[in-house]
Symmetry: C2
Amino acid sequence: TRSYKIAVIPGDGIGNEVMPEGIRALEQAASLFGFTVEQKWHDFAHCDYYLKHGRMMPEDWKDQIGQPDALFFGAVGWPAKVPDHISLWQSLLLFRREYDQYVNLRPVRLMPGVPCPLAGRKPGDIDFWIVRENTEGEYSSVGGTMFPGTDREVVIQETVMTRVGVDRVLRYAFELANSRPHRHLTSATKSNGIAVTMPYWDARVEAMAKHYPDVRWDKYHIDILTAQFVLNPDRFDVVVGSNLFGDILSDLGPACTGTIGIAPSGNINPDRTGPSLFEPVHGSAPDIAGQGIANPVGQIWSAAMMLQHLGEVEAAAAIVTAIERTLAEPALRTRDLKGNADTATCGKAIADAM
Amino acid sequence: TRSYKIAVIPGDGIGNEVMPEGIRALEQAASLFGFTVEQKWHDFAHCDYYLKHGRMMPEDWKDQIGQPDALFFGAVGWPAKVPDHISLWQSLLLFRREYDQYVNLRPVRLMPGVPCPLAGRKPGDIDFWIVRENTEGEYSSVGGTMFPGTDREVVIQETVMTRVGVDRVLRYAFELANSRPHRHLTSATKSNGIAVTMPYWDARVEAMAKHYPDVRWDKYHIDILTAQFVLNPDRFDVVVGSNLFGDILSDLGPACTGTIGIAPSGNINPDRTGPSLFEPVHGSAPDIAGQGIANPVGQIWSAAMMLQHLGEVEAAAAIVTAIERTLAEPALRTRDLKGNADTATCGKAIADAM
Ligand SMILES: CC(C)[C@H](C(=O)O)[C@@H](O)C(=O)O
Ligand SMILES: CC(C)[C@H](C(=O)O)[C@@H](O)C(=O)O
């Protein structure tokens, strides 16, 4: 039988509460669709580990993780314990680079039963993908300070784009657009203000578009693009953006469809030279951690994306359908969706609905 | 009598169509409130000028502009004629720097009668200010390319923050928050991902907050902040952000209140070492230019902000009230607001309503 090795990293805060529900869905899918899942849980990449060891992960973390088929990740960060830029750069952002997960893929989809903050939008109206560059761009740790602590203080940070890095994520995005019925791609830019890197991004989009004559494409500056997400979310099919712009759009998009609590993401290495990582879009939410009220749908939907990536297409679809059915029941929704269900109730309902 | 010298720069596209309506409101205000306005119109800072002269403005533009009390600006940019980063960096973005207009101030307010894309929000629910840093940060033209045109190509751009630049805009934002009933300030950050400049921004916010013990403040990462604009726009009072984050938020905010067609902005030099500049948030909109259908409210509301800055507080309030009354009439709204009125009809109605 088909078998998959999964590295399980719950991380911080509600990561620990939603992960068991993600696993529940995964095990249910395995038993229904005839494959097995070999889990290895890792007790690092969280802020208590940092407080004990002065770092987020052991030196030999790569050996400990080994060669899994995928990483299943919860959430990381607890600013009262460790500054975010340390906890994140030593865990999630490190995985993305070390495993060359250069695509961050996130769906924006209005699900039946989820209260939509936008007036008059119905399920089916909003259904697109965000493709985010995930290894370079604005997320650099390169830079520094001159004259620290004085009135002359200057702090500089580099945005770095490479031909290789830009082209490969654009190719992925155009391929995805080309595979969808609408064949439409929107590029996020800001070449009017960010005058070096963004005109370069635009030029590479234009060059890549030549290879995909069947894909209609356009570009929007990021400021007006966020406005379009609110005013005309039905206009989009595939949206591609730099690391920062993709980050912003993939919180805004899910918010426009009701909550970021349900949004999943795949940090994908399309060349499969390393494992991909699947995680909810939401963070560790220290404010509600420990109460068992977090929405598990983001984690469970991430399990579906992981199965899709592993080739278990039917199992992936079954999870998404079960999520849709469950969300349609007001009593099974968590508080962020104005329901009363706790994390486990919602998670069990989804597993049962499969 | 009080008299003000205004440099008028309509710019490109619909800038030329909405500017006369801004002027109409200004002249009406002058005659009603007993001051005079001395206009000097400038036929540069538009893309046709560039096509003729190879630059956006004459070499002696500063002399030609002279020492006005304020600049009244339309919109600039026409990408089919001149790449945006050239037209903008040689005009609007240059004014902001040359006149040290280090604050970009933009209201987000749900106006009566404007159809709101967010479900269930009423006028009064959404009413806050965005304070954007306007001279440095991500908007640098510093950077360059290595190995151009090859597979090794690397493009680098610097984000530059200075102690002076960050502190002065934060001081302005805290002062503004301190003067408002809710005394609440929100800082936009991304210190978990942008690991050099953004933790610095956070540290300066924390330091500045010590001087304003009566101001409650919080910070959100820009990704989740855009989500909050959609989900909880009633939560905000004053929002302060870097050049890029402020840019994004001040398109998104107006979109959440119906349209960016009505949003005004002040590019303000609070120290008055140079003139401030007032302009609508929207751009030159080549797609609808020349049809006389653009919404003039952004330009007219910008006139009100200009008068406020010049000390004509009553006149400013009269314009805003006239805008509110006019927008409440469906027949006087432009197409972007699902009305049928053309630019002049809407503009005249506002002047008459004063
Ligand atoms: C046109 C562009 C350069 C400008 C900016 O990004 O500042 C505009 O979007 C604005 O907000 O004034
Ligand atoms: C936690 C943070 C560093 C991360 C990011 O900005 O990439 C998160 O917002 C995400 O979208 O995965």
